[in-house]
Symmetry: C2
Subunit: 354 residues, 2 copies
Amino acid sequence: MSVPVTLTTSPKQKPAADSLGFGKFFTDHMFVLDYSSAKGWHDGRIIPYEPISLDPASKVFHYGQAIFEGLKAYITVDGEALLFRPDRNFARLNHSAERLCIPAIDEQQALEALKQLVEVDRAWIPAEAGTSLYIRPFIIATEADLGVDESTEYKFIIIMSPSGSYYAEGINPVKIMVEKKYVRAVVGGTGEAKTSGNYASSLISSKEAHEQGYSQTLWLDGKENKYVEEVGSMNIFFKINGTVVTPELTGSILPGITRDSMIQVLKHKNIPIEERHIAIDEVIDAHTNGTLEEVFGTGTAAVISPVGRLLWEGEELVINNEEIGDVSQLLYDTLTGIQSGKINDDFNWTIRLT
Amino acid sequence: MSVPVTLTTSPKQKPAADSLGFGKFFTDHMFVLDYSSAKGWHDGRIIPYEPISLDPASKVFHYGQAIFEGLKAYITVDGEALLFRPDRNFARLNHSAERLCIPAIDEQQALEALKQLVEVDRAWIPAEAGTSLYIRPFIIATEADLGVDESTEYKFIIIMSPSGSYYAEGINPVKIMVEKKYVRAVVGGTGEAKTSGNYASSLISSKEAHEQGYSQTLWLDGKENKYVEEVGSMNIFFKINGTVVTPELTGSILPGITRDSMIQVLKHKNIPIEERHIAIDEVIDAHTNGTLEEVFGTGTAAVISPVGRLLWEGEELVINNEEIGDVSQLLYDTLTGIQSGKINDDFNWTIRLT
């Protein structure tokens, strides 16, 4: 079932591949689907990319009912367009919707609409190594009413942005600061939902990290400030004495789709992987006794970010000589290999557009 | 210093006083102030109330940089218009701005703009007992860029809504449910900022409370799920054995302006008042031994909401026979008396518009 398409009459010029950056340019079209309590989700359509006009009393501006997803379309080495696990993104969007009292979307219809939108703007998918078309589905509350309760009207929108290689030179170890003052999320809160408020809350920590020369924050749990949770925009993994360990999903951690893919690849390669609580003290101890072999973050944007330095209580731990570890490299090669069509998709994760 | 005014050419019909409700109708004009990193806050203006046009990549939709305030204008018994402690709202807005990495506004200029806006729409302030003009200043991030960092562009907007009496029959005891599953905020998070994400996170709890016949949620702290913090849209007070107790401001509680006013009135009346940690167990114990004399919430919308029933672990505590207590009544009469000009403003809290 396809949705009606209104093509733009003034297509934009496409930016050069080396000027893309992340999330700065947008394609010619967008998908929009409306919700009202009377009609449910209705009127799905692909239209030219254009501003949204909203009443200033719209609930999204006041009470933050806003959730989103991030995924990518790639051009394979054979020139085909593919999506990576998009079904998981729409499933997670509905999981976030439930927490925020937003009505669920039809995941299958959303996927069909996305495929149609990517086809319409297919020429916007950059083909250079490391580049991709970043896709941002999101839902916002649009009812104009200041009562503090869930909105009766919403918009589900998909916009797309051609994006450059996250690191110009491939994968590159980053410097991360362990955050002790601010808290991202606590069990019972919205940490496992991909909602705008989680990001708003984290900005001050990133800002302070940047000022000290670190690229992101490593969050600890909100109850005890003791257990590792996740990095600013990534899940986190530690290789300690041959075993890869990542925090289990406790309810305050975002269930990353790249995280899940990495765990499956590790199991497939027979590399020991544990999902469990990890105290920051365990990480420090492992570093002290020489068993902290690799640290890396995973996420849609960078796929893998090895952590070269970790700041904790004023001391900087250097990890694996600030080099990319074997497991990090293997995971990166496997995932980007599948995404670029260079290696076989044994996991059935990719959807090729016909 | 006044800002330029563009008057509407199509004024709306004003709703009848008995149909107002809360936050449903908006006046003819709004105040808008823009921010860019190059110009700072600039171009303050009063214009007809109208939709805002935003790029779908605007950061407010994705990363939730959105803060707000709520205050009221009243018509006194002498027919004058007055504002109640508006300086405190703009100070708190800047406090919220700091936590969310939003550039500070000039509080004095914002107050002058607000006074000018209220003058322009003065005919919209309802004069019936218990009614008022609810004022909603808010700031949203408007830069169109999906990078997870603070916006370089914002809008500060003030909209206004004529609002009815919160309780048709004056003040009326409400039923409150103590929340054990969900958490509103944790120290290190955004609990003391008035940001949209805090409200988004709370909706599911209110929804479940409503389904069980309760009007709001009483939140416990996020670390130990033990100490009382605040109610959905109010701060909370307990009168135990002659002393009024309210949770101290720990960093996860909203510093309510009505809360502060109540504390000052209590001190002025020589009624014992303590700001300190209060475990929910202490409240239950006081009820059991008969010393829990009153429970009430305070906030801009309702001024005072006595709590008649409190649900805790499946048991419902009936408080003060579901009647309004003496202290609740005294505080309500004092605050609404000052706001309506019926009693003298010994605290210098009101600003009369000339």
